[in-house]
């Protein structure tokens, strides 16, 4: 039984040796370097007094407790808080500017509406005036027509009068002639 157990250990040792031989050229140089610096460092570790290690361990644990209670890592860092403050300020300013813009827009709209009303009123007045003027123009045109008609009539009358005057002149000339003839006849008589 003991020999069987030894054989079993031998098989395990062979397997481990095979793995070690395979990895040895790759990892062993690294291991050698590690050994060098560790041997140097271990010179400074106390070899008899375990209390030093106990004290160091307690100090690390207490330090860990204090540090991780004081700074658990759930508090935002200063630069992010500042960034948030800046964002908030920007948002506030933006909202203020929006409000101002809205107010100004409302004021401008009200002014535009007032002006529109005024212009509408003015337009109405102008339209009314234009209508009045059109009516007046029409009246003037009518009057002109009447005047033209009247002038035509007057011209006709004037022509008639001229004709009558000419007739009168002719008649006066004839009468003068008759008078002269009568005068001559009377003189002769």
């Amino acid at each position: 039984m003991i020999l069987q157990a030894v054989d079993f250990i031998q098989v395990i040792a062979d397997i481990v040796a095979a793995i070690l031989n395979f990895l040895n050229p790759i990892v062993s140089p690294m291991g050698m370097w590690m050994v060098n610096w560790m041997e140097y460092v271990l010179q400074f570790f106390p070899k008899d007094d375990l209390t030093v290690y106990i004290i160091i361990a307690i100090v690390i644990v207490i330090l860990g407790l204090f540090v991780n209670i004081a700074w658990p890592g759930n508090k935002k860092p200063g630069f992010l808080v500042k960034a948030e403050e800046i964002d908030e300020n920007i948002e506030k300013k933006a909202s203020e500017l929006e409000e101002k813009v809205e107010l100004k827009a409302e004021e401008i709209e009200a002014k535009i509406k007032k002006k529109q009303k005024k212009t509408k009123k003015k337009a109405k007045k102008i339209e009314e005036k234009a209508e009045d003027l059109e009516e007046k123009v029409e009246d003037f045109e009518d009057e002109l027509e009447d005047l033209e008609e009247a002038t035509g009539k007057l011209e006709e009358n004037a022509k008639n009068l001229e004709e009558i005057a000419e007739e009168f002149e002719e008649k006066t000339e004839e009468l003068e002639k008759d008078i002269e003839e009568i005068k001559k006849e009377s003189e002769d008589d």
């Binding site: 039984m1 003991i2 157990a5 030894v6 250990i9 481990v16 070690l20 990895l23 040895n24 790759i26 990892v27 062993s28 140089p29 690294m30 291991g31 050698m32 370097w33 590690m34 050994v35 560790m38 041997e39 460092v41 271990l42 570790f45 070899k47 375990l50 290690y53 106990i54 160091i56 361990a57 307690i58 690390i60 644990v61 330090l63 860990g64 407790l65 540090v67 991780n68 209670i69 700074w71 658990p72 890592g73 759930n74 508090k75 935002k76 860092p77 630069f79 992010l80």
Partner: protein, 171 residues
């Protein structure tokens, strides 16, 4: 994560490390000191048994303490990176303490009743060297993490506080 949950996490890991680096090795070496297989006493003729226990206790204490600091620190913080690196270095020293305390060359004498049948010698020095190589790579990784936490501190913190409402730590 809140401060008390962080501390609780640290205590849990500290207990785990106390068990794995101190209690189990202590019990193993104590058991190995005088073990009996199939009625045959296999006596550990390791004269430096006390020396092994001393170094196991010393580095076990330091490793457990740094594990507490490491695991109670917020995720991706510089202090976590620092203590993770320190812990790995202490782990190396702990493993190496097996070597220089004589635990890597164990000699068991097989005693049957009164007569000494022979001895079994286990030399695990190569294995320890292999472990050292692996730890070297782990140190490089932890060193990279440490410098990453320092150089990208701002980005890490921005990410941490953007992903959580009200700036709670998710570590």
């Amino acid at each position: 994560m809140g401060r008390f949950l962080n501390i609780f996490k640290g205590i849990i890991y500290m207990c785990v490390y106390i068990v794995t680096t101190m209690v189990i090795p202590f019990l193993t070496f104590t058991w190995v000191k005088e073990v009996q297989i199939l009625g045959v006493d296999i006596v550990l003729t390791q004269n430096e048994y006390e020396n092994i226990i001393f170094w196991i206790s010393a580095f076990g204490l330091l490793i457990s303490a740094t594990a507490f600091f490491n695991y109670s620190s917020p995720k991706q913080s510089i202090r976590k990176g620092t203590f993770a690196l320190v812990q790995i270095i202490l782990n190396c020293l702990y493993i190496w303490s097996y070597k220089f305390s004589g635990a890597t060359e164990l000699r068991f004498e097989i005693v049957f009743e009164i007569t000494n049948v022979g001895f079994i010698s286990i030399n695990v020095q190569n294995m320890v060297m292999l472990y050292m190589g692996v730890y070297f790579l782990t140190i490089i990784l932890k060193g990279y993490d440490f410098f990453d936490f320092i150089l990208n501190r701002k980005t890490i913190r921005e990410k941490r506080y953007k992903t959580t409402a009200g700036g709670n730590d998710l570590s």
